[in-house]
Subunit: 357 residues, 2 copies
């Protein structure tokens, strides 16, 4: 077997970025004609075939689903994978997992590696760096070559495919309404930076709930955490940041946090500052993981139903793969196909525990 | 490209198990000559090549490491993967993850899928079902075909390869000694069924510590939990089982649990029964995950250093892969090669928090 060249090797040889190679090979207009020609010629010389996905798809089915997640140490993504696996196994498919580690380049490398004959289709959640760059050419190129993608949780309009999302907006609306209905007047929001779509939607839900409750939003009551603080080892930094926030906003009587780590850390800090939960401060989180169940007091939270999301995503992908089998003899126009794309919304649920009244 | 037949398809066609096919193709004597001939003939007819690993290895390096873990919703395995990834990325390798879901058959299927040209070598932890069956032919066949394996955490003597383990025995010795030195007289052990090697070693450490402390072990103070109760949704069952255990052993003043979920659940049940922690009952867990840090009181625990295990496993595998590159011209005898295999022991550490005196 002749050694096949990879995107990474082409990029290194020509001293350009992997993204540039990827774009040039898919004929993107963002790249200059000169560069595109150079890259395409080099790729041809070394047998790189941008359309090898389509070739391999015609000839075999691997019965394997490729999953790409941004982070492995993350309860939510784990439960989504469990859901995908459950349905995949039932329907005779295997799964294989790649990790983007929140990196745009790693996302491209992993997709190239898996798409290269190992899998029939992708289920994936977009990396933070990709969301920040707003560069989605690698998803669209993969879809155009005939390999279906289902996006879950972190999705964007710019990619036309089946999607599974939770209703982040309504979820936080429910949470903040609960805090309002139990008497909170100064509800703080602990959230992520804006470019992460779920953080943005949850922030919108918070603002809308306040407006409905005729309460003016106060920018001082919104704490935006740099996401790199999620990881272990930075827990102290997270704690300090939340402590400073509480100290400069003494009237806080309710907290809505966009994930359970922030919520549990907020409870810890509040306790340390002498507040009692839920009497002085009520707290609600998002994502129902082990931390929420085992915290003291146990945490009221908006459940995303990760497993259900995974099950639904696997159903959508397998249905599309098997539909394509049936339809492969007749031509389907691009638009006609796109009309079939579904966005499934998984309803969130407010699970009430002891951190609220 | 001609469609390649898989182990699963051969098994279905001939109405035998995947394991039988796998053994027959690797020439195992456990399978009758008749069956072996039938399976080998069928495989040949449909172009299944048991030695395609060796073929593909000669011709290309994928620079990808295949990881197979028994369970995805598991903090320890996640941190090991993070460690592998860290080192792999630094040394120019990618990783890809397959899940055995604690199933023997899925372990074989995943290994076949990944070994088929996608990866250069494996890092894996053995599934519970494989340990129960004590059937390790698929690991040995893979190694004999020239693809290196590094086993971590759940390892066995029957497979000759590089291994990374934590010192489970010494880890629990430290934990129980801590309980003894702070005055506990009736120390309970909450553990798993015996066939999981780590559970067994931790149990041995517990017994040895008691013996050193001149305390007779009491079989009534050992609770063996059916592992299927680990999963969410069965938390109530786990709680009930531990509650029954406490009620029928009222003198318990210390608990050592072989994982953090059992430890945190034990604290919850103890509190519910009116005991104060650590005054009435001290508790120590194993594995330092998010639950331990965020429990109330925070849990004293034996840290396994999952990330360090992953880093070490990746180093061992990459060293072997790169050593093989250098040595590929000269012949190395089987025994000579085996002498190079290393078992690296990662030291455990007792992290003292508020659940002990």
């Amino acid at each position: 077997m002749k050694r096949k060249i990879t995107l990474k090797q082409i990029a290194r040889e020509l001293d350009v970025s992997i993204s540039t190679v990827s774009k040039a090979l898919s004929g993107s207009k963002e790249i200059s004609e000169d560069t595109t020609q150079k890259i395409q010629a080099f790729a041809k010389l070394y047998n790189y075939r941008p359309n090898n996905i389509a070739l391999s798809l015609k000839n075999r089915k691997t019965k394997t689903i490729g999953i790409i997640i941004p982070e492995i140490v993350h309860h939510f993504f784990s439960t989504v994978i469990r859901g995908i696996e459950l349905v995949a196994n039932k329907r005779g498919y295997n799964v294989i997992v790649g990790l983007s580690n929140e990196s745009f380049t790693k996302e491209i490398i992993n997709m190239e590696m898996l798409a290269n004959g190992s899998i029939d289709g992708f289920i994936l959640s977009i990396s933070k760096e990709t969301l920040l760059k707003q560069d989605y050419h690698h998803f669209n190129a993969t879809i155009n070559q005939g390999m279906p993608i289902v996006l879950f949780d972190r999705v964007v309009n710019e990619v036309d495919c089946d999607k599974v999302i939770v209703d982040d907006f309504k979820g936080s609306l429910k949470a903040v309404n609960k805090l309002l209905s139990t008497g909170c007047k100064n509800i703080a929001l602990i959230t992520t930076m804006d470019y992460v779509s779920v953080g943005r939607l949850r922030t919108q839900g918070y603002l809308e709930a306040l407006e409905d409750g005729k309460i003016n939003a106060d920018a001082n009551l919104i704490l935006k955490i740099d996401d790199s603080l999620d990881v272990e080892g930075h827990l102290d930094v997270l704690e300090n940041e939340i402590e400073k926030f509480f100290k400069s906003n003494k009237k806080i009587d309710g907290v809505f946090a966009v994930n359970e780590l922030y919520a549990v850390t907020a409870m810890k800090v509040a306790r340390k500052l002498g507040f009692s939960i839920p009497d002085d401060i009520q707290v609600i989180g998002f994502t129902d993981g082990v931390l929420s169940k085992h915290a003291t007091p146990s945490l009221t939270t908006v459940s995303q139903h990760g497993q259900k999301m995974g099950e639904k995503a696997a159903d959508l992908l397998i249905e599309r793969l098997e539909l394509e089998d049936e339809e492969s003899v007749e031509y389907i126009g691009e638009n006609e196909r796109n009309e079939h794309f579904k966005t499934v919304i998984i309803e969130t649920e407010l699970i009430e525990r002891d951190s609220t009244k």
